[in-house]
Symmetry: C2
Subunit: 386 residues, 2 copies
């Protein structure tokens, strides 16, 4: 398997991803010697919007908008965006595309659309628990990175496809909504041999190990809403977290690992040997101290500490340069059916005692409902707006 | 071939790239059914520095530095960087790496080092023609994007590898040099089926068609210096060119094609049908007008208009956000043995009459000598500094 994957790096990773998420349209090998061409096109159709139940993309952009229209205008924008999204996912130019050659098939383009809490003043059907998060003690929120009425989240294998898709979608939003903030990010979820990996943030930590696995009942229960009118939708928390790499780097590796509760090398819990080993939250060392410390990030964010409530989180690394000065960080993305019920208790606990707070500062925060997916002939948000 | 390439997307592109450039270490398939694992590691060693005679990388960063040391200190920095570069190219952590797990093999990491003109005050062996470019009539240069004593140019398949490598190299430069500007860019040089393509800028133009082909005598004559002490080196012009996408988009496609002299669809000259068809600079239409206009970019930048002198140019797309406002552009990179002899006449002519000037503005400019490559045991710049 390793050898095949090494060679079939590209194909193998895509196939594994598709098997995991059920999302990508992939022609699998008929046998080991006569494999078929691999598609990296991700269908925009389905019960859920594309781009959610997948690993973080190599290149991504999130754009939040301020809405400048009424309910009918929002419906028109959603129909317009839906038609754009179908074309872009397919690598075809959307209607009116002024740079049609930048639409290239097979680049794993996904577009996910979200509604901020205030939009539900227009629709009257706000999903349960969807409110702006209260400001946490450690938050240093900047308006420039916070809030928003609409969200576009675009992902692809390459940055050109992302930039092109975002430009098209912003242009079509022009009469209805204006950009409020935009955040670009990147993630590497392939290892040295092209195999799928969890990926690392810019602290070097394996980031996202605790997630429920794609395609499990646990994942579905965590992520998808079952509320009437919003069934198959989910919510997204976007937190822009500045990482202080310089002070983090002053720690020894074992201090870093103690803060996280996991090994830097593999992401394994300090009580285990492999990345996905369960945490032993009771284990103590020879001196009687908890191996995974009371304030370790992995303990505090573990679902057993959160009344069993889970989230599905992804990260996108970001760098933001002002002249020659670089800020580094993580665009933290959390999906859950219910923000107030699943995410807020976790955030509150992390804000209170997480060891990582010393080296991280949240500078942006926003919450969106991501409407259910759509089928051919339908449009995004239809169940909420029609 | 198409079918094999479609399937062997990843491997095929790498192999094609390696065949073209002689750069990558690639194990080719022994026969069509039992291919070997593919390495995407690019050797840092050779007659020339890595990262030059290759297509633009998917992800890249250029960092210019102000030097704050003497000749001996510069030599120490070069020895340090050389050892970093060997490790980074190999996907191993460099000595002192504080995030060693972010060094991942097989990510096509290349690091190229350059010396600005003033550095040769220390060495006394300035390559012929290496001077800061005069300010052109259309230039609107900002100090923030211009000049510099040292250059690092880092490329890789993914942005995490680039960010990691740059951070390491800047950290090791600390006693010797401080960052002056940094520019991040991206390029997509694979098509829908994973096949190598020239790639497009954010105007949607195929960009780089006119280059001499890798591995040809023409390429070697264009790029590599034969000067004593600098043999195997080259020079690099970095121009940050803002593209006004909004006004460009107001043109019809045929107006856009007339400005460039090439078709948007394929990059073929307006007098041809395939991308690499030779330009017919004399051809006229039924009304007797030149098909490739007098001020078309493709005509003005054609080597026949430049006394046969050529350049090897690459582009990196960039986006630069200030709040919700985006600037889009191209980091234009030109390699030539002699800046004053090969590039300056071309630039002067383009500045005077290029039709594209209406939609482009150069806001940064810098010139560097890229010392020859090195072998195990040697270090970058050794022939200039030791």
């Amino acid at each position: 398997m390793t050898t095949r994957r090494q060679f079939f790096g590209y194909a193998g990773a895509a196939a594994a991803g598709a098997a995991a998420t059920g999302g990508a349209v992939v022609a699998l090998a008929k046998d080991s010697t006569t494999p078929e061409p691999v598609s990296r096109t991700i269908s925009p159709y389905g019960e859920h919007q594309a781009g959610i139940a997948r690993p973080a993309p190599a290149s991504a952009e999130l754009v939040a908008f301020k809405l400048a229209t009424d309910r009918a205008g929002l419906g028109r924008l959603m129909r317009l965006w839906t038609s754009d999204i179908v074309a872009l996912a397919d690598g075809r130019p959307a209607p009116g595309d002024t740079a049609p050659e930048l639409a290239v098939p097979n680049k794993s383009v996904t577009v996910t659309v979200g509604f901020g809490p205030r939009v539900f003043d227009l629709t009257g059907q706000k999903p349960r628990g969807l409110d702006d998060l209260p400001v946490m003690k450690h938050d240093r929120l900047r308006p420039a990175w916070s809030g928003g009425d609409l969200l576009l989240m675009v992902g692809a294998d390459d940055a050109v496809s992302v930039v092109h898709a975002v430009r098209r979608l912003i242009a079509d939003a022009k009469p209805f909504a204006t950009p409020l903030w935009r955040q670009t990010g990147f993630w590497d979820s392939t290892g040295a041999n092209g195999e799928p990996v969890t990926g690392r943030n810019l602290f070097g930590q394996v980031d996202g190990t605790g997630n429920p696995a794609f395609g499990t009942p646990e994942f579905d229960d965590t992520v998808w809403s079952t509320e009437a009118g919003f069934r198959g939708g989910t919510t997204l928390v976007v937190r822009r977290i500045r990482l202080n790499l310089d002070t983090w780097d002053e720690l020894t590796r074992s201090e870093q690992e103690r803060a996280v509760g996991r090994k830097l090398s593999t992401g394994a819990p300090l009580t285990g040997t492999a990345e996905h080993d369960e945490l032993d939250l009771e284990a103590r060392d020879a001196d009687g101290r908890l191996v995974i410390a009371q304030n370790a990030h992995a303990r505090l964010s573990h679902h057993s500490e959160n009344d069993g409530r889970r989230i599905f989180r992804k990260g996108l690394n970001y760098v933001h340069d002002t002249g020659a000065t670089r800020e580094s960080g993580l665009i933290f993305l959390s999906h859950q059916a219910d923000v107030a019920g699943q995410f807020l208790p976790l955030l509150t606990r992390l804000d209170a005692v997480d060891a990582l707070n010393e080296w991280t500062t949240t500078i942006g925060s926003a919450v969106f409902a991501l409407p259910p997916g759509f089928q051919p002939g339908e449009w995004i948000g239809q169940s909420l707006l029609s």
